[in-house]
């Protein structure tokens, strides 16, 4: 059986759509990585001991020099919800073209 014939160069539109599908697959990975970033803030600390003494109680902005710079619940929350917002916006931007492309355009490897 001959190998499936794939054109080397795709039409611009088809090419864009394929890359969009790639982006849709990458998005959750990106989201996971970004959501795991806060773990790096705690990388040098023993999580169990709970380094309450290092966190400034009077607002995260005025961090004393020498102490590990680490956001508290308020700013950490802002980071998490910020990433979340970006994910929602990205998913919303991709949703329509993706669901449109599903109809007539076949996936690679599909029957032509």
């Amino acid at each position: 059986m001959a190998p499936p014939r794939e054109p080397v160069f795709l039409e611009r539109q088809t090419y864009r759509r394929r890359r969009l599908m790639d982006a849709a697959r990458v998005l959750p990975v990106l989201g996971a990585v970004l959501f795991m970033v806060p773990m790096l803030w705690f990388a040098g600390l023993d999580a169990r001991s709970g380094p309450a003494e290092t966190a400034p109680m009077d607002g995260g902005a005025a961090v004393t020099a020498g102490a590990p710079e680490r956001p508290g619940t308020a700013n950490g929350g802002l980071y998490v919800f910020g990433v979340w917002t970006l994910l929602i916006l990205a998913a919303a931007a991709m949703a329509r073209p993706l669901s449109r492309s599903e109809g007539p355009v076949e996936r690679p490897g599909g029957p032509r």
Binding site: M1, F35, M36, F42, P51, A52, T73
Partner: protein
């Protein structure tokens, strides 16, 4: 607390009545075919919100009050899963739709060769994992009641709380039975339930947002104020446990797929794949909004409420503390709707699984053989579903009463997540790895289930409750490395992380290992290919070979499952598709396949397969069948290539046949013409011979001159007859190859001389042009026969040339292959249509009565030249009739 218990009960009743009404109206609309908004992506997205149960509605705030931001992982996991819908959920939903999957147990069972064992295993897992969860919902409802009734009522109040839980459970059972098992739909979609769930989703979101907005703007004085409050609160410092952060995110993501109720709304109730695209951003937005105000509520609750207040109830107690009774009532209804929606869907999902994977297989094997042909299967299924719903809710209630609604119950959410995540390896493997086998799935599920029960579920009841304390501290029988919460000697991990790591790790290991070592059956391999390559061929593989099944038997069985009207409609449609009238289609493999899928939509893949198997007589797929399916694509390609070649060949043959046919038709016409001709030819001389011989016989006194004349006529006519017969004989001799040639070395001019002399002896009207120098060719041939050919051609020209002054030019040319003698006259020639037949026997053109020939001349010429090793052909385009006689020169050279 001014809200009376009775007012609360009234509010609940009104709310429940509203749910009934909405569900009822939605069912009515769906039945009327006016789905409209019921099928919108919005309703789909909102129905996904049953992920947010009372555990998250109340519990998230409590969680945040205890451990800060960690609660958010419960929402991050599902966000990641649905944002990545293109890679995973889309495939899952497509498979669910093409395979008519009814539950997660059905999916696993169907993927691994429609195995009843796996279906039972997953069902068992789901029941064990979900029952405490249902108890948790009941607990949350009763707890929220207790907030309003207050502790003032004391022990008496506790009793009435138990009664509350019972009434809630009973009401939910009723709702679920009424709207969850109304019909045994082939699509297993519950429009009424889904619409009610969507409404509940709105209620709980609005409730939580209202409390949140009140807290931020009404209490803290805006975002900046709440930011400052958080910074100043006991949970200001983010105490992250990295292990839990990762594990909980992953577990929540897994739970979003594996929880039976989530699978039900995501896959089974999905009516359009495109809804996933909308949900991919709308559902994360919903989760985002649900969790946005969790930390503010927790912080405000910690600040305002007295020490020791239950943080799980902050959503209710904070508004109450500020005398916002209306808001508190809204929050109460939000919590109530979270609990009820979860319980309803979970009960439907579990009852489907229990009836399809536990009750039906047992019932089928109990009534082996006759099950499919007697008794109303439909009623059995519906009854078993209703009983299952009651049993599931009853179990939940029992669990609630037994556990006493303690703290142990609050932890059950995560414990259930870990338990149901055990399905994940078999699920992912089944979707992406064709090598995953039933043995692997069974091994992984069993091991993971066991480890989960041992290391997480049993210890969760408290030390000494389900497991002896010694097992926790020293291990069973004193084996240290088997301590329940420190397996293999790894101690110090968080219990949930520990159990998730070991159970999922060992599960995946056993799954992959057993899959690699075992060999799947044909049906498994078929289903594996179907699932993994669902986007490549959604058409479906053939699982049945047509057997001697009566369509009537199948109809009887289908009626008992789907109901008479639906089954008849199905069969009629199939029959019409085959171009038949009536209700009984031919039992083809396609039809069996389709029927099985329709049945699977109602009773699950394994049961449908088993029932069809009972009727069709066991083994559906042979290895040969499987090979055939696997080779189908290759065969198709080869076949199409062959077809292409064949069609070309056919085209060629058709052209040849057309030519041959034309020739035959013409020949047949000629033969008919010849027969009438020859009878005429024979009759004319016969008549005159008879007439003149009678005259001679009857008139003895005839003059001598007359007698001589009559005798002469008779003689001439006889000669004409003889000539005709000679020609016929000659031809037949030539054709049979019985002729003997008398070859000698002669000069071509000599033969031509003889022929011209013989042919021209009659009238001499034809002028013959010859060129003597070209004719000096010596040939080894039969001179008499060759002369016969030439004579024929010359006399033909003489007879048929239409010119006023006929001229025949005879030219001889020598080529590489031999000598060509051309006879060209200046007549009208032979029309192209006739050129192909003039050498056939009996061939005569037009009205040639005068010529007196029988149409054998050229046929004889052709035979003779063929015997002499040459050929004769008509030479078109010479301005008249032209014949070329080609003779081989090799003979001539050899002779020279």
């Amino acid at each position: 607390m001014t809200l009376s218990f009775n007012l609360l009960v009234a509010a609940c009743l009104v709310y429940v009545a509203l749910l009934f009404a909405v569900a009822f109206l939605a069912e009515r609309r769906a039945e009327a075919g006016r789905l409209g908004v019921l099928r919108s992506p919005l309703v789909y997205t909102l129905s996904l919100s049953i992920y947010c149960t009372a555990w998250t509605f109340y519990g998230a705030v409590g969680y945040a009050a205890r451990s800060g931001l960690e609660f958010v992982t419960i929402y991050l996991g599902p966000t990641l899963v649905i944002v990545g819908w293109w890679a995973f959920l889309r495939k899952l939903v497509r498979i669910g739709r093409t395979q008519r999957i009814t539950s997660i147990a059905d999916l696993i069972s169907s993927r691994y060769g429609k195995s009843s064992l796996l279906g039972m295993l997953v069902t068992l897992l789901a029941v064990v994992g979900t029952t405490p969860y249902i108890a948790l919902q009941l607990q949350s409802v009763t707890l929220s009641f207790s907030v309003f009734t207050g502790a003032a009522q004391g022990a008496e109040g506790a009793g009435s709380l138990g009664a509350t839980a019972l009434w809630v459970a009973a009401g939910l059972t009723l709702f679920t039975i009424v709207f969850g098992t109304r019909n045994l739909d082939v699509n297993e979609r519950h429009h009424g339930v889904v619409t009610a769930i969507a409404l509940e989703a709105v209620v709980k979101l609005v409730a939580l947002l209202a409390v949140g907005i009140f807290v931020v703007w009404g209490v803290a004085g805006g975002p900046v104020g709440i930011h400052a409050m958080i910074e100043a609160s006991p949970i200001a410092d983010w105490q992250m446990e990295q292990g839990r952060w990762v594990t909980l995110t992953a577990l929540a993501g897994a739970a979003f797929v594996c929880l039976p109720r989530m699978f039900q709304v995501t896959v089974v109730e999905n009516s359009d794949e495109k809804h996933l695209a909308t949900a991919s951003w709308a559902f994360p937005l919903y989760l985002f909004l649900m969790s946005l105000f969790v930390v503010p509520i927790a912080v405000v609750g910690l600040a305002v409420l007295p020490e020791g207040a239950n943080p799980d109830l902050f959503v209710l107690t904070v508004p109450l503390a500020f005398r916002q009774e209306g808001l508190a009532m809204l929050a109460f209804l939000g919590g109530f709707s979270s609990a009820t929606s979860m319980v309803i869907v979970a009960a439907i999902a579990l009852s489907t699984m229990v009836s399809n994977h536990i009750v039906m297989p047992i019932w089928l094997s109990a009534r082996r053989g006759e099950a499919t042909l007697s008794g109303d299967v439909r009623d059995v299924v519906l009854l078993s579903r209703r009983l299952s719903i009651a049993a599931v809710l009853g179990l939940g209630y029992l669990y609630f009463r037994m556990s006493g609604g303690g703290e142990a119950l609050a932890a059950i959410g995560l414990i259930a997540f870990v338990g149901l995540a055990q399905v994940l390896p078999a699920l992912i493997g089944g979707l992406y790895w064709r090598g995953a086998t039933r043995m692997g799935a069974a091994a992984g599920l069993t091991l993971g289930f066991a480890v989960w029960v041992y290391s997480l579920l049993l210890p969760s009841f408290g030390p000494g409750a389900a497991l002896p304390v010694s097992v926790l501290t020293e291990g069973p029988f004193g084996i240290g490395w088997l301590r329940a919460q420190a397996l293999f000697g790894i101690a110090g991990l968080d219990p949930v992380v520990h159990a998730a790591l070991w159970s999922l790790g060992l599960n995946a290991l056993a799954f992959v290992g057993a899959s690699l070592l075992s060999f799947p059956g044909p049906l498994e391999r078929l289903q594996g290919a179907e699932f993994v390559n669902v986007f490549r061929h959604s058409a479906g593989a053939r699982g049945w070979s047509p057997t001697a099944v009566e369509a009537e038997d199948l109809l009887m069985m289908t009626q008992r499952i789907l109901g008479a009207a639906e089954a008849q409609a199905l069969f009629q449609a199939a029959a019409r598709g085959q171009g038949k009238e009536g209700y009984l289609p031919d039992v083809t493999s396609d039809f069996l396949e389709r029927l099985e899928r329709e049945l699977a939509g109602s009773v699950g893949a394994a049961t449908a397969h088993a029932m069809l198997g009972q009727i069709t007589g066991g083994g559906a797929v042979s290895v040969e069948e499987l090979m055939r399916v696997a080779d189908e694509t290759a065969q198709m390609m080869e076949y199409s290539n062959q077809l292409e070649a064949k069609s070309e060949e056919l085209g060629r043959t058709a052209r040849q046949l057309r030519e041959a046919n034309d020739k035959l038709t013409q020949l047949s016409i000629q033969k008919d013409a010849f027969l009438s001709q020859i009878s005429h030819e024979l009759r004319t001389p016969m008549t005159s011979i008879r007439a003149f011989s009678e005259i001679l016989r009857d008139d003895p006194g005839m003059a001598a001159a007359d007698r001589a004349r009559y005798s002469g006529i008779i003689h001439d006519e006889t000669r004409r007859l003889t000539r005709l017969l000679d020609d016929l004989l000659d031809l037949s001799v030539l054709e049979n190859g019985q002729v003997t040639l008398h070859e000698s070395l002669v000069s071509l001019s000599e033969v031509l001389d003889r022929a011209v002399a013989a042919a021209q002896s009659r009238e001499g009207r034809l002028r013959i042009e010859r060129r003597a120098e070209g004719e000096r060719v010596m040939l080894l041939t039969d001179p008499d026969r060759l002369a016969q050919v030439f004579i024929n051609l010359i006399s033909n020209s003489e007879k048929y040339c239409t010119a006023d002054q006929p001229v025949l030019r005879i030219s001889v040319s020598r080529g590489a292959e031999g000598v060509s003698v051309d006879f060209t006259d200046n007549g009208a020639g032979i029309p192209p249509a006739s050129q192909s037949v003039i050498f056939e026997k009996f061939s005569r053109l037009g009205d040639t009565r005068a010529a007196g020939g029988a149409g054998l001349g050229l046929a004889i010429c052709r035979e003779i030249t063929a015997r002499l090793g040459g050929r004769i052909a008509y030479l078109p385009g010479q301005g008249g009739a032209a014949f070329r006689v080609s003779l081989p020169l090799r003979l001539a050279r050899a002779a020279e």
